[in-house]
């Protein structure tokens, strides 16, 4: 039973399947992630596994973080995350989660941070149409009307406007694992995932509607 894993997006390429079809894949280098805490109903009120990823220098971690990692005798690692499970028996502190928990053909969800575009305008953020660029028009990239006049006398909440775009958590659901390379800790996942190469991603088994 797969738990989940943290990894780094490396980039995209394509692979050929047995029928000769070209499949677009994203290459992710994931794990091994040592388990840093086993949470149980008695001690924490819920059941989960906490694990760590991302080598870092010891001086860049606080004493508190190092102390927490010391309990599982793991190397200095930057990122901590946890996955809730029904049952954590069989998992122990310090045990490493690797890509071997996944198998090809399995469906996974990939959670990452989308590419940040800063404070983006109407066209880039919401795909508004542009005004005419010539013929005396001064309306090039303006939003147009934001609502009616005296009644209601305000702009309704949720009106699409310019603002921060990207650099937020995005989950891409139900991606197929094409290949698992346990020698190099690689996962090949069909399709695109959020963020740029080098970004941190979390891979968990697909959460399907109906809880299957």
């Amino acid at each position: 039973m797969a738990v989940g894993i943290l990894g780094t997006k490396l980039g995209m390429t394509q692979v050929f399947d047995e029928a000769g079809r070209a499949i677009p894949v994203t290459v992710i280098q994931a794990g091994p992630c040592p388990i840093t805490q086993v949470k149980t109903k008695e001690t924490d009120g819920y059941v989960a596994l906490q694990f760590a990823y991302g080598d870092v220098k010891e001086k860049n971690l606080s004493k508190a973080e190092m102390g927490h990692l010391k309990k599982s005798e793991s190397a200095p690692l930057r990122h901590l995350t946890e996955c809730r499970l029904k049952d954590v028996s069989g998992y122990e502190l310090g045990q490493a989660l690797t890509v071997e928990q996944f198998e090809s053909g399995q469906l996974v969800d990939v959670i990452g941070t989308s590419i940040g575009r800063g404070f983006a305008g109407y066209q880039k953020r919401h795909n508004f149409k542009r005004g005419p660029m010539a013929h005396g028009s001064k309306n090039h990239r303006l939003p147009g009307s934001t609502g009616a006049g005296t009644t209601p006398g305000r702009v309704f909440p949720g009106k699409r406007m310019a603002g921060q775009y990207g650099n937020e958590q995005v989950t891409v659901k139900k991606l197929t694992v094409v290949r698992v390379d346990s020698d190099r800790n690689l996962l090949l996942v069909k399709g695109a995932i959020p963020g740029k190469p080098g970004g941190l991603v979390k891979i968990v088994p697909a959460k399907l509607v109906g809880g299957k």
């Binding site: 390429t13 394509q14 692979v15 290459v27």
Partner: protein, 120 residues
């Protein structure tokens, strides 16, 4: 290994080593594997390479031919297992990387001069 090296090594496993050097303007014959029921056979497709795109395992060529008065263009992923062979029949003398102007030409003006300084 960094990210690029890992991706290149993944691609290298699937790349063919026996492909000829293909230039834009060349006339090539591509052997395409076709499944009919449970039988497999190779169908040749012949034409002029009017564009090359991408590199590595994703490299593809656009091959144009005029068939029964109708222009046909097919894009081949040349490293695909469905492509059995690629053979260069004739080297063409061209001054562009993309020969899309051939789409507007018919008859005599749609021909390309042959060049002899490149070995087939």
């Amino acid at each position: 290994m960094n990210a690029q090296e890992i991706i290149r090594s993944l691609e290298a496993e699937q790349m063919k080593s026996d492909l000829p050097v293909i230039h834009v303007g060349d006339t090539v014959r591509v052997g395409v594997k076709i499944r009919e029921g449970d039988k497999e056979r190779t169908q040749p497709y012949e034409g002029v390479v009017i564009a090359k795109r991408s590199a590595g395992v994703t490299q593809n060529i656009t091959v144009r031919r005029v068939f029964q008065g109708v222009g046909v263009e097919r894009v081949f992923l040349i490293h695909s297992p469905r492509i059995e062979s690629v053979k260069v029949l004739r080297r063409g003398k061209v001054r562009r990387a993309k020969l899309f102007y051939l789409r507007q030409r018919t008859g005599k003006s749609a021909r390309l001069k042959q060049r002899f300084d490149r070995a087939i």
